[in-house]
Symmetry: C2
Amino acid sequence: MTKWLKKKEGEFFDALEKRDVKHMRELFNKVPTVDLAEFADQVDDPVKLAFIFKTVKSELTADFFTELDDDTQEALLHVFSDAELVELINKSYTDDIVDVLEDMPANLVSRALSLCPKDRRESVNKLLNYKEDTAASIMTTEYLTFHSDVKVGDAIKAIREAGRKAETVYTIFLRDDKRNLVGTCDLDDLIFAKPEQTLYEIRNQEFLYTKVDTDQEEVAAKFKKYDINALAVVNNDLKMVGVITVDDIMDVMEKETSEDIALQSGVVPLKDEYVETKPWRMALKCAPWLIVLIIIGVFSELVLSQFQEKLAIVPALIFFIPVLMDTGGNAGGQTCGLIIRALALREFEVKDFPKVVWKEIKTAAITGLIVASFAFCVFMIEFSIPGLIHTDLVISQKILVSAIVSLALFSAIVLSKFVACALPFLAVRLKKDPALTSQPFVTTIVDVCSLLIYFGIFMIFYTTGFFPA
Amino acid sequence: MTKWLKKKEGEFFDALEKRDVKHMRELFNKVPTVDLAEFADQVDDPVKLAFIFKTVKSELTADFFTELDDDTQEALLHVFSDAELVELINKSYTDDIVDVLEDMPANLVSRALSLCPKDRRESVNKLLNYKEDTAASIMTTEYLTFHSDVKVGDAIKAIREAGRKAETVYTIFLRDDKRNLVGTCDLDDLIFAKPEQTLYEIRNQEFLYTKVDTDQEEVAAKFKKYDINALAVVNNDLKMVGVITVDDIMDVMEKETSEDIALQSGVVPLKDEYVETKPWRMALKCAPWLIVLIIIGVFSELVLSQFQEKLAIVPALIFFIPVLMDTGGNAGGQTCGLIIRALALREFEVKDFPKVVWKEIKTAAITGLIVASFAFCVFMIEFSIPGLIHTDLVISQKILVSAIVSLALFSAIVLSKFVACALPFLAVRLKKDPALTSQPFVTTIVDVCSLLIYFGIFMIFYTTGFFPA
């Protein structure tokens, strides 16, 4: 928070304590609405909240309300009179009301819906019922549409007369006689055109649209790729039903990225922001994956239990278990992170799997070679410092142990990168989020395999009689 | 790629082979420029590229060129005549030229600069010299600015006459007599205002701006928070020097997120997209962290070497090393992922550290309790299945070993979440990117501590004489 904002925050709470309406109104003239909403979020008392809300300039109430926390919104909705609720609904864009109602208890939702004007209620209800995370769930039903035969001058006049009812006036959608979408115009196209031209003449032919049930992540990818401000949403008959604006898409990008990061870190995605999530709820998001991974980890216990007699012969082998497991996990985590990100950015598709996996194998071989050679030197240095590693191995056996560990490291890196590359593709193939194949998941699977490879390599050398029987 | 686009791609390469100018031009009318650029990126032959470029509609050449890959751009720049180069520069927005030149070899840059008109050369040079990742490095110098006394009607007329020279006409910046920024108007404000009003009367007073040297990630946070389309960039005298538009910000968000994900996965961030990075280069990005982590891992080897005699007494302790290490690492990775994301989204600041760390400790205690109790049951079940775990421990010792491991798990989870929470804050404090404190890094540090705790707890029970001496 800047110093200026900090000062305004102090003034805000002063004015609130003194019930100084004039000062409050002044603040609402100077401070951005979103920051004022953050101040208000700190207030718990519904009476005080209602007072704050009443001092908000009439044209900003809908904005202010939308920016508040879920909890604050709920507190306010409870103290609102029916008249106040109707006013708020009428002032808000449909998609904003829907966002608010989605997080409210059922009784508040039905009260709000019953107070909605009939035409409004229908569109709110429709949006509430669209499947979460689809294009339809983030679209708004307020947009500007004209018949394509309308003249530019008349369109500008109509826009001015209608006023700011649409969420975006920057993109205008053109329909033909059958109400099919035939093109779009940007507001600046109108400014630069002659008033007597028709909208059809100046339309963008290469206009884009999306279906109602398209995943919002795909919609976001379209916005990024084509640098657009608004996108038409059409139903299965290709009739336009709504519009998605770039500000909603930025929220989607942020939410989807947070979800991916949570999943990749082995956390069930949080419903709210990190700071708003209580510790016990956070624990319930963290514990499930840890438990699943402990169950998978049972296999590594079984492997070690099988090989305990061999480990007793050359205890030095035990020392390198952590470094082998860590390196395998880390190498897989690298690939996992890059592949899932590239899939999210649509850098390649499922059918590119052979190409990608071949590339990862080459990468893994080179990485493995560099890292294993380096590790061999580190191990030899460790062994040669007197008293550092307690072992009764002779020098040739020390070289052999270093070589076995390095070879196992190389195999673990290649195997791990292969698994980490294959799992996200498998997830997409099974229509799951690739981010589910998180780094912890790869680590735990690879650990078991790495241990098996490690002991396998040791057994090959062991049969040569190089180690004491 | 959609079927439609796939078909157009086929047509594109057919027309290219036949040098069918008419068909090529038709395609450029129908297919979005960004997709055509993707087709062209697949062509290596500079002669063919030059042919494609010549078939692009004159008003789209700059757009088309900007969307091409670095390699394709370089190939084209080499075959361009001076006249062609000058035309391209004149048609492009300054920030787009700068983006292109930043990735070109020095001789191409100086050739392009020498061909720039003088006024253009100055602004290109200035942008090239601004520090990377600052607001200035992504701003453009083409924007609309008016004296605040200008009337709305005159402004609209002036905008129409000037045409599409500015990268955004949706936001207009107002200056006073001293050329200070005094407000902004959105294009729709002009449409809704009366022609005889002055811009000053309809201006947004709450306008935002950013300094030239502000980090681009902070600028992106401002765009997201305030839902704006364009932001003024001012120098240290608060004079306006450029503007940042929302499409540039979406690219920044994408790039910064990719960088954070790479760092958190323990990879040096890639310069290009994943698909464009060659395996040997990828290996060089992956190997360094793996090697650093192997060096840190030496400590775990030393711990195990110290405790080998104890391990020989109760070999069953060895079996649980992987699960202990994995769980510690995974628990830390969860916190790491969430904290770094929350820091990136500015959910809290460095000064909130005590609050956040206290919350993480509470979360860790609850998570640890759930996971450790569950793990205890899993271990007891394992021990009670005949022949599964090879050990000669009696039942009371099995319970004790399960308890020791569970206790160590609990400690590892709490410790790991604490370290994972503290390290990103420490990084910010030291003015480093918090994403540097990646999951692999936390894992490796926590591993050493977990092993020490594990053996520490064992030693306490060992001295009670519960295990064979």
